[in-house]
């Protein structure tokens, strides 16, 4: 058996707090093949972002760890490019310059000036940002900023693309546009992707596998759902697809039956707790 592309083994993490250590994750095990699109889904505060940050190298796991292409991950690096939730573009640089900063850093000495320019423009073209590449972040919309953020990450030619709720801050229509763009890009590049999402439709539409996480503290992987739908996928055709709706209800069941959550910050999600299972307790 060949070794997996990316492997998480027994990952757990504790954060020190004034009232003692807080255990966010425990025993997270996951194997990801090259070219797979994985979604991490779960209620807020369940440690999805923590998993992503450990793979990115921004956090150090307390126990266990991540191995990418046979090498242990212990610091951040461009081969694990991150698309941040709030785009994280440098506000004083244009879209082009933002991508350029990454390209110059990653391909210094490997690409000539002309090749770099072509590569930057190619990536901005992939996300359909050619028309506004010399605009600064405050001159473009939220969706466009996120496109540039994706272009910057793609331009690093990462072996894993990490996306932290990339479309979370966008309105529904813009989000749909970006999801379509992302599928289009995936069909060409076939990157390995780990994406965090809150959105069940997004997870089913985009992913090869959906990793569902239990509620924190000491969150871990609850279930993994393999989404066996033909690509290219179209949101319109899938809307009436029985398989699609089955996957969708699987995820919904996991989130709202098995992992009910009392969330005081979001009154809409408030559910009266009757049976008190151990992993549903809120942090005091």
């Amino acid at each position: 058996m060949s070794k997996p592309h990316l492997e998480l083994t027994g990952v757990g993490i504790e954060f020190p707090t004034p009232t003692g250590p807080f255990r966010a994750l425990t025993d997270v095990n996951l194997k990801i093949e090259k070219g797979e699109f994985i979604s991490l889904i779960g209620h807020s505060g369940c440690g999805k972002s923590t998993v992503l940050n450990i793979v990115a190298g921004l956090y150090q796991a307390t126990e266990g760890g991540a191995i990418l292409d046979g090498k242990e991950v212990n610091e951040p690096g461009p081969e694990r490019a991150v698309v941040f939730q709030n785009h994280s573009l440098l506000p004083w640089l244009t879209a082009y310059e933002n991508v350029e900063l990454a390209v110059k850093q990653v391909f210094r000495g490997k690409k000539s000036r002309v090749e770099m320019k072509e590569w930057i423009e190619h990536n901005l073209h992939l996300v359909h940002m050619d028309h506004a590449m010399h605009k600064r972040p405050d001159e473009i919309s939220g969706g466009m900023k996120q496109r540039v953020g994706i272009a910057r990450a793609l331009a690093m030619q990462p072996s894993v693309l990490l996306m932290d709720e990339p479309f979370g801050a966008l309105d529904a229509l813009t989000r749909a546009h970006l999801q379509d763009s992302l599928m289009e890009i995936q069909s060409v590049l076939n990157n390995t992707v780990i994406m965090i999402t809150h959105d069940v439709d997004e997870a089913v539409l985009l992913s090869d596998r959906i990793v569902m996480m239990t509620n924190g503290p000491a969150a871990t992987i609850g279930e993994v759902l393999t989404v066996d739908l033909e690509r290219p996928r179209s949101r319109l055709e899938l809307a009436d697809d029985a398989k699609y709706n089955h996957y969708r209800s699987e995820v919904l069941k996991f989130l709202y039956e098995k992992q009910k959550k009392v969330d005081t910050s979001q009154p809409k999600l408030k559910v009266v707790e009757e049976d008190d299972s151990s992993d549903e307790k809120e942090v005091a």
Binding site: E75, P76, F84, N86, S88, W92, D138
Partner: protein, 334 residues
């Protein structure tokens, strides 16, 4: 926006009014923009006139606006007279030398410098040079210091008490120390700088360092975590990180600090010049005070207004630069 435009900004409605290039719909708002400050100034002038006429000093009545107007005219006239004298002096000297050379081509020619008293406008020039030298030196020290402090939490907690202690110190407290140190250290037969100039300048530097240090360090320390993560993912070197992420991100704060610093520098300068006898506006005020003629108070009041107006212009220039370099165009800067 260029500097001239920003300086003009408060006067824009006036300029437009004089040029007669106002569209009708804005006339009402422009009249408001002109009339309101106009009323403010007029009320102030009236109160000043009435109040001043009731204050009797040993040098006569406290100068009102009329007296100041007269003295301002005198200062301009003094300046022009002295410049004419100077021109005449050099002309006479040249003629004399030319004659000498005619008689004897090998004659030794002496060129004497005109040794007139510094006029009010020369003194403004001296003050500006002194304040800018002090401010530039302070900037060169304060910005890198602020960056280093902002990058390190340890250094920040180590140095913060020191900075907070020195920040409120008056220039008058520094000056004696500076004077003694300068006269002990700066010993030269042919000094490039006047000691009075050095004393004033160093005092200005010491007093205006702190706002820039503090603001720069706060700006550097508050670089957003997201941008720092970007830097980590890209594995930027320390130097590139500072240059590409930290510096641009804290530029607005740095300029806020610089603007505060320049304001303090200008305020401190007058006091420093007064005590150090640097031939600038501070010395002008002091000399007039010592002089004690019936014109003195009027001249000092003129200087007060000029000092205020120059301070205002300096602040406008800094504001322009601050706006020009700020990447956050939504932030309201005023």
């Amino acid at each position: 926006m260029n500097i001239a435009a920003t300086i003009q900004k408060p006067f824009e409605p006036w300029i437009k009014l004089f040029k007669g290039e106002l569209p009708k719909q804005t006339i009402a708002s422009t009249i408001k923009a002109i009339v309101t400050p106009m009323i403010g100034i007029l009320v102030f002038l009236m109160l000043w006139e009435v109040g001043a006429s009731r204050v009797e000093t040993s040098l006569g009545t406290f100068p009102g606006p009329k007296e100041v107007y007269v003295q301002a005219g005198n200062l301009v006239a003094d300046h022009n007279r002295l410049r004419e004298k100077e021109a005449a002096f050099y002309q006479r000297q040249e003629e004399r030398n030319a004659k000498k050379l005619e008689k004897n081509p090998d004659a030794e020619i002496k060129i004497r410098k005109f040794n007139g008293k510094a006029t009010f406008f020369d003194q403004i020039g001296t003050s500006l040079i002194t304040v800018m030298s002090g401010f530039i030196i302070a900037t060169i020290i304060a910005v890198p210091l602020g960056i280093v402090i902002g990058l390190s939490r340890t250094l920040n907690s180590a140095l913060n008490p020191v900075i907070q202690t020195f920040k409120p110190v008056s220039p008058l407290a520094w000056l004696p120390l500076v004077t003694m140190v300068v006269s002990a250290v700066y010993v030269s037969d042919d000094p490039m700088f006047d000691k009075a100039f050095l004393n004033s300048m160093i005092t200005v530097t010491l007093c205006c360092l702190w706002p820039t240090v503090l603001n720069t360090s706060v700006g550097v320390a508050s670089v957003s975590q997201d941008l720092q993560n970007v830097s980590k993912v890209l594995r930027l070197s320390w130097f590139t990180h500072v240059l590409k992420i930290v510096l641009p991100s804290s530029v607005p704060m740095i300029f806020t600090g610089l603007r505060l610093s320049l304001g303090i520098a200008w305020m401190v300068l007058i006091a420093a010049e007064m005590l150090a006898q640097n031939p600038g506006l501070g010395k002008f005020v002091w000399d007039e005070f010592q002089n004690g003629s019936s014109d003195s108070l009027g001249r000092i009041m003129t200087a007060v207004l000029v000092i205020g107006f120059i301070g205002f212009l300096l602040d406008r220039i800094m504001l322009t630069m601050q706006k020009a370099v700020s990447w956050d165009k939504n932030a309201e800067i005023r």
